[in-house]
Amino acid sequence: MRITTVAVPGFALGVVIMAANCQAASAVATASATVLAPIAIAKSADLSFGSFAPGTGGSVTVSTSGVRVAGNTVQLATNSSPTAAKFEVSGDPAASYDITIAASTTLNDGAAHSMTLVTCSDLSMANTTSGNVASGTLSATGTQSLFVGGTLNVDAAQLAGQYSGNIAVTVEYN
């Protein structure tokens, strides 16, 4: 009887140790995410070809730095100031993004007369006259400027008037 009474508490101790040993383990980890506002673009300057006379037809090109050159016999008026378009892109610092610019568009005088505009663009105002930039990277402060110029095709019989149109520029993070 004495041996038996010793054995029972011994078993009870064993059960306690076993329970402690068979315990599962768990760990906690952090989960996080950063939600950003959509990338933004705003126009700060319009593209302007200034005034010109068609001559026997040709073209007028305004580079991304605003330098204007006539093609063929188009005569440029010196009393007008051409400008390249400028856009301000803003978003998350150092983020890269895709740029989509309409390769061409049409300018109208509001009376069914038109000219075709072929766009060109860059991010550095580098006097670019052809081709469009397809991607950019925002600065450490989350901004970048986009410059758009173009070449306007002028017909010999182009009617006098004020022609205008729109260039669509889309940006998206990539």
């Binding site: 054995a7 760990a27 980890a29 952090t30 989960a31 995410a33 950003l36 993070y173």
Partner: protein, 156 residues
């Protein structure tokens, strides 16, 4: 001398204790977090961001991912007896969310590598990688979201 029924009882106790004694020689299973789970940077829309256990991030719906915030899978170190298998229990759907302090976003479809059962190697440790899916809603306010989740391991 003990009566026969007493021997039977002691034999039973000894057998029950054997499993215990073998466990006593062994290390407890342990787990510690060594890398947080991150869904990275993105622009919200109706959709989701999924980070796989290997760390690959994909978006669905209109969610736009940013390369500058790639995200990462969580990583844990499981330790215990060498060459022993263990069970992994991940959070159930609907139990974890992350918050910016005001708005919460659900984290579901937890997945791990190894999946349900891991195997501790010769050194008695194994890396456990965990990914999940963040269910994003359109118009989710911009900001930093965070929360916590638990992973449980147990010897099989």
């Amino acid at each position: 001398m003990l009566p026969p029924q007493r021997y039977g009882l002691r034999l039973l106790l000894a057998l029950a204790g054997l499993g215990c004694l073998s466990a006593l020689h062994a290390a407890n299973i342990g787990i510690s977090s060594s890398q947080a789970l991150s869904f990275g940077k993105f622009v919200a829309a109706s959709g989701s961001v999924t980070v796989s256990p290997s760390g690959t991030r994909i978006a669905s719906g209109g969610v736009v991912l940013l390369q500058t915030g790639p995200g990462q899978a969580a990583q844990f170190v499981v330790s215990g007896n060498a060459d022993v298998t263990y069970a992994v229990t991940l959070p159930a759907d609907g139990t974890v969310s992350i918050s910016n302090g005001g708005t919460s976003v659900s984290v579901n479809a937890f997945a791990s590598s190894p999946a349900a059962t891991g195997l501790l190697g010769g050194g008695g440790t194994q890396l456990l990688n965990v990914g999940a899916r963040l269910d994003v809603t359109a118009g989710l306010p911009a900001g930093a979201y965070s929360g916590t989740f638990s992973v449980v391991v147990d010897y099989n």
